[in-house]
């Protein structure tokens, strides 16, 4: 057993840090520190810088533009990226549909889509959830009917993250209505610019616009846009969701937020002294840090295990990551709320236009707290995660 990184790994961490320092646009970093939403341009600009460096799709196989890094290097890269902070690569393209395409797609599809995913020439979104199909995803009803050389798609998706920016969608559609639940689903990709696609924004409780409803009304999709085999979509979806086991803990994100909590708690006063000097607050903060340290170690155990024994059989500890990671992220936003106290209230209608300097440092704290309630819901709610542990790990 050994906690330390190797000399090469330490050098790699330095290289990654230096690259972020020199290349992440400062305004992008500041907005992320303040918990603000980034514009499409800001995100794409950064991702293209990353892709130019060759780090845009780091975990893909080398032949498709990946880096060939070890699992520890991937871990270091992700942690440093989250902690800097800079936007992580667009998950829907890079972590989700990309691996499905290079694993199950045909040569033409790989050639057509993969380079464009890497350079974010296409912004992808995910068409999984439906109004009636959340945790019970396999009950989805959006259907794709084969008509000549086309799929005709009708139905509705929801919680479609950043669909307002999207060029492409990967979509689970029912292609065999007579088959049992999981069996009749196919994985189909198509352009969001297709006729019959309508995107309706959903405003979330933080006031932001991240998610959307997407409606399909007789959308015509070329037959070759099916990925893999017809009616095997559920397998690909499971593959996709199981693909990223460790990033979900978002330890780097929580570390960055703890840094910010300490920074603000040294400024804001309570009882005539900085909040950070309040023993009760300090203990709460330390408790959160200890939870995070434990999570970081749990994550390292999973990473080291994957590095040594491959990704085949998941380490049982990996199911801890989503539950604890989301709980800790939520705790950090609660602590930020506690730090600013009554200044959580003002709602910033001006946004980040510099017109209201007094609010710049507090304006996003309550929204970020509200927004972070999502992290224990998405990606398989924490209750679903507990079902998974009970069944897959404990055999209940």
């Amino acid at each position: 057993m050994d906690l330390a990184f190797t000399k090469e790994e330490v050098a790699f961490r330095e290289e990654v840090r230096a690259f972020f320092k020199d290349n992440v646009p400062p305004d992008t970093r500041r907005k992320m520190q303040e918990g603000r939403h980034l514009s499409k341009d800001e995100m794409v600009t950064w991702w293209r810088i990353l892709n130019k460096k060759g780090w845009g799709v780091s975990h893909w196989p080398k032949e498709y533009g990946g880096t060939g890094w070890t699992s520890v290097q991937h871990y270091i890269f992700n942690e440093e990226l989250q902690a800097y902070p800079a936007p992580q690569p667009l998950a829907f393209g890079v972590s989700m549909v990309g691996p499905v395409i290079y694993t199950f797609g045909n040569e033409a599809q790989k050639k057509q889509y993969l380079p464009r995913i890497a350079n974010v020439d296409d912004w992808w979104c995910q068409g999984f959830s439906e109004p009636g199909s959340g945790s019970d995803l396999a009950s989805l009803r959006t259907k794709a009917e084969r008509k000549g050389d086309k799929w005709i798609i009708n139905g509705q998706k929801t919680w479609t993250t950043l669909a307002q920016h999207a060029d492409m969608i990967f979509c689970l559609c029912r292609t065999d209505p007579s088959a049992k639940k999981q069996m009749g689903i196919s994985f189909i990709v198509f352009s969001m610019k297709s006729k019959g696609v309508t995107v309706r924004p959903i405003q979330t409780i933080d006031g932001g616009h991240e998610v959307n409803e997407v409606f399909f009304d007789n959308v015509e999709v070329p037959i070759e846009n099916l990925i893999g085999e017809e009616n095997k979509g559920w397998d690909y979806a499971k593959f996709l969701l199981g693909n990223e086991r460790t990033g979900i803990a978002r330890v780097g994100v929580s570390k960055e937020r703890l840094r910010r909590i300490k920074e603000l708690a040294s400024k804001v006063e309570s009882g005539g002294r900085p909040v950070i000097q309040d023993p009760t607050f300090r203990e709460k903060l330390s408790a959160c840090e200890i939870e995070l340290k434990a999570l970081e170690l749990t994550q390292l155990r999973v990473v080291a295990d994957e590095g040594k024994h491959g990704k085949g059989k998941p380490n049982p500890a990996s199911s801890v990551l989503k539950i604890k990671g989301s709980e800790i992220q939520q705790t950090t936003t609660e602590l930020l709320m506690e730090v600013i106290g009554p200044f959580a209230a003002p709602y910033d209608v001006h946004g980040d236009d510099g017109s209201n300097e007094a609010m710049d440092w507090t304006a996003q704290i309550a929204p970020s707290y509200f927004n972070n309630r999502k992290v224990s819901i998405y990606g398989g709610s924490n209750e679903i995660q507990r079902n998974i542990i009970a069944k897959a790990v404990l055999g209940l």
Partner: protein
């Protein structure tokens, strides 16, 4: 970055697990409790035969030169089997003082007896009002000729009734809570002026309250610097905390395993109660708590090698916090999921709960260590 055991470490684990599987089931444990002193001399001899009592000592001292990971392996196994024998008191703590602070003569006088199983030790540290502060010492050691005279009272000394040698913290100068002026002394348990009141502890171990009245020891009794031994005490107690973390992880693992097994077989309303989602989620949360504890136990084990003493102390305190929270949850919920049977002495599960509970309150509870981490400015 590596969390796997080496080949030798795996063999060690197999060997101690094997030994305890053979000689330490729940019924056997009950018998050992009835033996004189409350633990089994035969098991202790087996531990000695397998070299487990000599693990942490250098080869020059007759041991195996093993490190923290080996102690972690042993303590986890002891936790799983709810072992009563005084490994912590003798090998981890007693041995720790000798290894880190003992003179060549002290090592030669005491280590062979530890390794061959003929001698056990006890650490007489807790005082009536000291609670968890290691520097809060009123017991005095006054110079007399070349030696010392010790006066004071110590409480809940684990293995205090049975030990051959006591390791006693005593103040050689200064005021009650001064960090300076504390010494550590090796005192024969049968020395004149020692009186002991032994009793079983809640978890089935044994301890004693011990008073020292004009107990005279020689100049060779002091371990390390008799006027500045607090750093030594802190170091050894930190190692004891790390060992307790590992013991707790072993006990939690077994507690969770027993509980999951129980709810798979216990039927109500015509089905196994483990089919109910509320119980499944509880068990999942227990699993999460146990895994987080395991991570921090490993962290604390490896932190034992940290160069920076402050960093090491914070890491170990943090581990004790996590283990304290996890053991409380796993221990309590194990009882809850067992229902009525969990409340009985005859079910094993309650005994895990009791040992886990006592571990939390040994060498600093959750609140105490949380405050330490906070006062040190946090962990991250």
């Amino acid at each position: 970055m590596d969390f796997d055991l080496s080949e030798e470490q795996r063999l060690l684990k197999e060997s101690i697990d094997g030994l305890l599987t053979d000689s330490y089931d729940f019924e056997q444990r009950k018998k050992y409790m009835q033996e004189k002193g409350g633990w089994s001399k035969a098991v202790w001899s087996k531990l000695a035969e397998q070299g487990l009592l000599g693990l942490p000592f250098t080869e020059a001292d007759g041991g195996f030169g093993a490190g923290g990971v080996e102690t972690m392996i042993v303590m986890e196994a002891l936790g799983k089997a709810l072992v009563l024998e005084p490994y912590l008191a003798t090998v981890v703590i007693g041995g720790g003082f000798l290894r880190h602070g003992g003179s060549a003569e002290q090592k030669a006088a005491h280590i062979p007896g530890i390794i061959d199983g003929s001698k056990t030790l006890a650490f007489a540290q807790l005082e009536k009002n000291s609670r968890y502060d290691l520097f809060d010492v009123t017991t005095t050691a006054k110079k007399k000729g070349a030696g010392w005279v010790i006066d004071g009272e110590k409480f809940v000394v684990l293995n205090g009734e049975n030990a051959d040698t006591l390791i006693v913290t005593a103040r050689t100068k200064g005021e009650r809570r001064d960090r300076n002026g504390i010494g550590v002394f090796l005192v024969p348990a049968n020395a004149k002026g020692i009186s002991k009141k032994g009793y079983p502890t809640q978890d089935g171990l044994h301890a004693a309250d011990i008073s020292f009245t004009s107990v005279e020891v020689g100049s060779d009794a002091a371990i390390g610097n008799p006027e500045d031994a607090l750093p030594l005490i802190e170091r050894v107690v930190d190692e004891a905390r790390v060992a307790l973390c590992a013991e707790a992880v072993g006990a939690m693992d077994e507690s969770l395993k027993e509980t999951v097994e129980y709810i798979k077989t216990r039927k109500q309303f015509g089905v196994a109660i483990g089919s109910f989602q509320s119980l499944q989620h509880r068990a999942s949360d227990m699993f999460v708590a146990a895994e987080q504890a395991r991570s921090m136990s490993m962290f604390a084990t490896m932190a034992g090698d940290f160069e920076d003493a402050k960093e090491r102390a914070s890491a170990i305190a943090a581990a004790k916090v996590q283990i304290g929270k996890s053991l409380k949850f796993v221990g309590q919920q194990s009882i809850q999921l067992h229902g009525g049977i969990g409340m009985t002495m005859e079910a094993k599960i309650g005994h895990y709960f009791k040992r886990l509970t006592m571990i939390e309150n040994t060498f600093g509870d959750t609140e105490y260590h949380l405050r330490r981490v906070a006062d040190a400015g946090g962990l991250i």
